[in-house]
Symmetry: C2
Subunit: 485 residues, 2 copies
């Protein structure tokens, strides 16, 4: 019997249920990868059943699933048809876009056409920093979690949410940080935010007294954190970073807030050493300062004796821990959290209420279920192995190919690696060739407060969304270009 699809379908030796699932997944993959293009008509269930030697109800059930998920549509008396998934290219959707008036009204702001800038291009490329790989993300499981929560049976599914977050998600996050980062806390100390960025913003609003509060930041460091602090009127005090992380002895004693990335300094990748951690906690105690610990990718720890979160060492309610699901899951989720001492909870809740009155209920509930059912832990564990292999590939490639120019500093955690210039006089040339051959990688000077420093001390390579082969090919290409002189 002639196959009815132009790609292989393997349905032998399976139960009815498994066959439905297999057929469903294979057809869906074909649609997603456009082997079954938009508008394609699916053969009748009878024809598919005959062609692959399965019962017709198997095919019907698989088609029903595709229909429920919106991958195909059926119209009375016609064959099932593949829906267009890429909205950009869909003329039927385009048609429905707003028809602007033929005569624009005679006022300037409607005539002008500002081009809005996106700080983050949505396409991930090469060595881009801070972008995780989503190809192994269990989309089906996530979809099912989300389906649960959009059921009208969920209490509070429609009304105003609690500003501090759904109780179940706060409990799930408390469990997650205990498991993944040894941060032991009560769920009442968790505030759910719209990504780590909102955590920084709320903390800045609550803790910074405009024009008065000195806030120490790492230099180089994470620019969006600086933006949130400056918006709140903070006096920024940039503190340099060395092989042990933030140089604690450089902190002015009138610093009220110290922002650090102890697990994996951004962007140099070093971990804050244990003596420095102790010194920093001492500093906070002696000078009535608080510490904001940004643990953006600490879930991915490599090696045998990883350092726990700084918060774990805190005995004085001085450390405010900020986490995000942007690296452990994906950035488009826009969910993060603060684990804060009790004295801060009421103020943070009020700030969140004033800022946006709480977050979407379905997403929070779906994430809670995803965590409590163990999917986050499982996914993180799996991705850690992949990232570790990539880190090792990258370290090896730099050591083999670029030893004359760069010294790799293997990170103990996270999804980017820092490589120091062997000779700073070569920096400018290396940076310009990196721009061409290791797309996405950035000189750490991009993250310095003083922008005039041309090159800084090295290059940061993200390895979140790049395969081993591409790592090797890119580094080899960069090496050839450097050799060419």
């Amino acid at each position: 019997m002639e196959p009815v699809f132009e790609f292989p379908l393997d349905l032998a030796k399976l139960s009815h249920e498994s066959r439905v699932q297999r057929l469903h997944l294979q057809l869906r993959a074909a649609i997603v990868e456009r082997r079954l293009p938009a508008g394609a008509r699916l053969p009748s269930t009878r024809r598919v059943a005959q062609a692959y030697g399965v019962a017709r109800n198997t095919v019907i059930a698989a088609y029903d699933l595709l229909m429920a998920e919106g991958f195909i549509v059926t119209r009375a008396g016609a064959a099932a048809e593949v829906v267009d998934l890429g909205m950009q290219a869909n003329p039927s959707v385009r048609k429905r876009l707003p028809r602007l008036p033929a005569q624009p009204p005679a006022i300037d702001w409607r005539k002008a056409a500002p081009s809005t800038t996106h700080a983050h291009p949505t396409a991930t490329r090469g060595f881009e920093l801070g972008v995780p790989d989503h190809r192994w993300f269990p989309s089906d499981v996530w979809r099912r979690s989300l389906l649960h929560t959009t059921s009208f049976a969920l209490a509070g599914a429609f009304g105003y949410p609690p500003a501090e977050g759904r109780p179940l998600l706060r409990a799930a996050i408390a469990q997650h940080v205990a498991y993944a980062r040894a941060v032991v806390c009560d769920e009442r100390n968790v505030i759910v935010t719209s990504g780590a960025q909102q955590a920084f913003d709320l903390l800045a609003r609550v803790l910074v007294k405009r024009g008065q509060t000195k806030v120490a930041i790492e230099n180089p460091g994470y620019p969006p954190l600086r933006a949130a602090l400056l918006a709140a009127g903070a006096q920024l005090v940039p503190i340099p970073v060395d092989d042990e992380g933030l140089i604690v002895e450089r902190l002015p004693t009138d610093t009220r807030i110290v922002c650090v990335t102890p697990s994996h300094q951004f962007p140099t990748g070093v971990a804050l050493s244990l003596p420095r951690r102790r010194a920093l906690l001492d500093f906070a105690r002696r000078n009535a300062a608080v510490i904001v610990e940004d643990d953006y990718d600490g879930e991915f720890r490599y090696g045998t004796q990883p350092l726990d979160a700084l918060q774990t060492l805190d005995r004085d309610a001085k450390v405010i821990y900020v986490g995000t699901f942007s690296k452990s899951l994906f950035p488009a989720l826009r969910l993060g959290y603060v684990v804060a001492p009790t004295w801060l909870i009421a103020a943070l809740t009020a700030a969140k209420q004033s800022a946006d009155n709480g977050g979407n209920v379905a997403l929070q509930e779906a994430l809670a279920r995803f965590i409590l059912d163990g999917h986050l832990a499982r996914y993180t564990r799996r991705m850690r192995k992949r990232y570790e292999a990539r880190r090792d590939t990258l370290v090896r490639a730099i050591e083999c190919e670029l030893a004359a120019w760069l010294i790799a500093v293997p990170p103990g955690a996270g999804i980017h690696l820092y490589a120091r210039f062997r000779d700073r006089r070569q920096a400018k040339r290396i940076v310009s060739l990196v721009d061409q051959h290791a797309i996405g990688a950035q000189p750490v000077s991009d993250f310095l407060v003083e922008r005039e420093r041309a090159a800084g001390t090295g290059i940061a390579f993200g390895f979140g969304c790049i395969d081993a082969e591409e790592i090797e090919a890119s580094i080899a290409g960069l090496a050839r270009a450097l050799h060419r002189g």
Copy 2:
């Protein structure tokens, strides 16, 4: 043949596809309403097929849909089983909640147990203000929209979103406001926010110069707006409201920002009259002020000649229009928007970036599809009729039963109604009986800036989530109590 479910299933005279759908929906409703309780085992597909005289593949397909949606689970060799949907009551989920250490660490903040307060109770009750009815919300359509967007085929489904919102949603909102509110704008003038509250917050951050900017607000007015303005350091100037809305001539000439609810004043329900609208736009032009138009429930307009949005009259790029889906859809969605003049877009985008780096991609894309496919317009149209009937019931009930105490002011839009005291000396007594007999209704004094004024001028009754029978019964009960003495 004996029925296998204890509730009626009606599957006669339908095509296979319709039967699958009917069976699927009826079983799902039974699960959601707990007629099929958690843990219940479903009869075999063969038995159901025999009992209801349908083909077995019909039953299989319906079960598959329930499984895909997470309502039932199947295990090898066992019957399909109903999943527990109410997380609260599910012991198997409870078990997985964080196990806190037996010995709490010896630091105070973990010992303390603050009770966090929720400004919005999630249970909707009686005459509560600003809470729409969600019982007719097309959850299935919404779920399908969400399913689409959680597919990995969607461009940008995982990466960082554009801070100002997904292009498709901005276009959909531009279409929606043009259709529903005659607000004609370019999609580039739309910024997507996390509810109207974030719109207020971003506008306050961008427009208010701390300690210097005078901002006029309606008095009585919406307290969370005041909170956002105060957080940004605004000097608030409360302006009284009469039968024509905000009394424009009371605005001090050095007012830089005027915040108004022209369609349906919150909480007195009056519409800003056309002369006042003209005067307000004049004021802004002459005094270099801007106007923030909060159109929180203007989608629900009653009567034949409704006033368009104030923004529609604006010819000077002075009006910033704020909308929300909290009333037209539901609050838990947490999606709103600003339609701003071009001169403001870059600053608002930067503020949004600093505040939370953009919103969840799947939700934005799902809402865009929901709007572009016409579901929002259809749902709004349907709900407008229901709300109008309730408004009429409430007006009639107040006029018939409470004429001695209250004068109803029928609103031309929105989901709450204001009733004025006939005799202010009775105010205290009426308010105390309202608290007992018309739960959720609030004296407008609750929304005054000067809290010392004991009673204000009347009572606001929400009719978003209350049925006609309950309206009549509650008002009758209130009347009996007032008559008693």
